[in-house]
Amino acid sequence: TLLATVCTDAAIDPDTLAKLLRHHTQTSFNSISIDGDTSTNDTLACFANGAATPEGVQPMAYDSQNVNGKSDDLRVFEQVFSTFLKDLAKLVVRDGEGATKFVTIRVRSDVSFVTAKRVAVSIARSALVKTALYGKDANWGRILCAIGYAPGLMSSFELDADALKIGEQVKLDRKLARMGKGSGRQDASENKRRAPVVNSRTSVSFIPSDGSKELKLLVCGEPEAVDEVRAKEILEMEDLEILVRLEDGTPRGDGPVRSVREAVFWTCDFSHEYVTINGDYRT
């Protein structure tokens, strides 16, 4: 269970405080996972008593007079608040039961933020990814597998609109062939070629925490020859970043290049100790 209490002596209007908390929970405490289990008791509470606010200064509040409803004070406070919640949330991941690794998962998508977040959550929840990290194994295949079954992606090839079109075309051709109409003469190799391709826009890298060079594992759907020694070096460190790009900077289909959304999620590895702790946690 996650419990958190945050207090500030700045003065904030009650509705604004509630809105700020809801919004910034998404990118902080709702962006962490240790074991993928959502508790019955999770609570994050926040209090703002204005005890440090100079006499006569009004509580910070959203109001339409300001640019996107925020005064300069509120905009600055929001930045402080957002960073504070993220850093407090990361402390929880640092203490994951039996954890030996602190893993940042950063996913970039030109489809949507939701796509990026779903993929990040899927990787963070994968027991196979987490045990590979504990074993210091650069098993990018498991990361790709977790990307591939992320909710909302598996069915629609949302990662690759081209594949969707090809998939539909192949189904249509087969239907026509059954009816003895249309081209219908697709031989196996033709259909095979036009079947949904392995996603050619997905790249996966390990980013070491010491600032040294990125280790590319998969580039635009093509596996790299992985330097095992380098991978082991990187996985020896306590902190690791897994960078997933679901875009390659080119337009999807014949549209314009779309803006990239990024989701960041924090998790840890799964160790023998996690099983021991939870096997012993007597009810």
Binding site: C7, P14, A18, N30, T40, T43, A48, L88, G96
Partner: protein, 208 residues
């Protein structure tokens, strides 16, 4: 008693802090979980003057009694006039039916009374619980320890650290952070923000 902290985690535990004015923190021993005979397991964070408060809660279908009671208090008070939060570790008061709700309300009311509230007053103190699911709270032990909890309140780093320690369950270190900041309209004024958290297992929050 102080729980020992693994050497590798010491770096995450602050040795000092900058805590927001007008807030007090405290901790006390109630013996919520039978196997705990020495570590504080009650914590209290309050504002000397009731103030705006907000919270987000789990969306798990079987949300616990303290989650329901705290949500009701915030709705009743429209996020205003909130005193703070009383927290127990050692028992989650979850899947405990009507009696669980009564126990959570009793924790809140026992705390309010120590700040002068009477039975007619609206509740001002939120409630949080963490620990084993499916067990009832030893509510008498908790309510009889709350005056001690109230007496333990203070505004030093040790008070805040004690509260952060008291809410731990399988955590290996207390999670406490504090920062100062200024705002453009009055750069001469220094504000503070502080927070404590717990969690080491059953962690995949999806709060709203």
């Amino acid at each position: 008693a102080e729980r020992s902290i693994p050497a590798a985690k010491q770096k995450y535990v602050p040795t000092s802090g900058t805590y927001p004015k007008g807030f007090l923190a405290g901790s006390a021993f109630a013996g919520v979980k039978a196997s705990n005979t020495k570590y504080d397991d009650l914590a209290l964070i309050v504002s000397e003057v009731p103030c705006p408060g907000a919270a987000v809660f789990t969306r798990n279908m079987f949300r616990a009694a303290p989650v329901k009671v705290s949500g009701d208090i915030l709705r009743l008070q429209q996020n205003k006039n909130i005193r703070g939060v009383v927290i127990n570790s050692g028992c989650a008061n979850a899947v405990t039916g009507k009696l669980g709700l009564e126990h959570a309300e009793a924790m809140s009311r026992a705390t309010d009374k120590l700040f002068g509230a009477d039975d007619a007053s609206l509740p001002e103190t939120l409630v949080m619980s963490t620990g084993v699911i499916g067990q009832r709270l030893p509510i008498d032990r908790i309510t009889s320890a709350i005056p001690k909890l109230h007496a333990s309140l203070g505004s030093t780093h040790e008070h805040w650290l004690g509260a952060a320690q008291a809410i731990c369950t399988t955590d290996t270190f207390p999670k406490l952070m504090s920062r100062t900041f200024t705002l453009p309209s009055h750069p001469e004024t220094t504000y503070s923000i502080a927070g404590m958290t717990k969690g080491a297992g059953m962690i995949h929050p999806n709060m709203a």
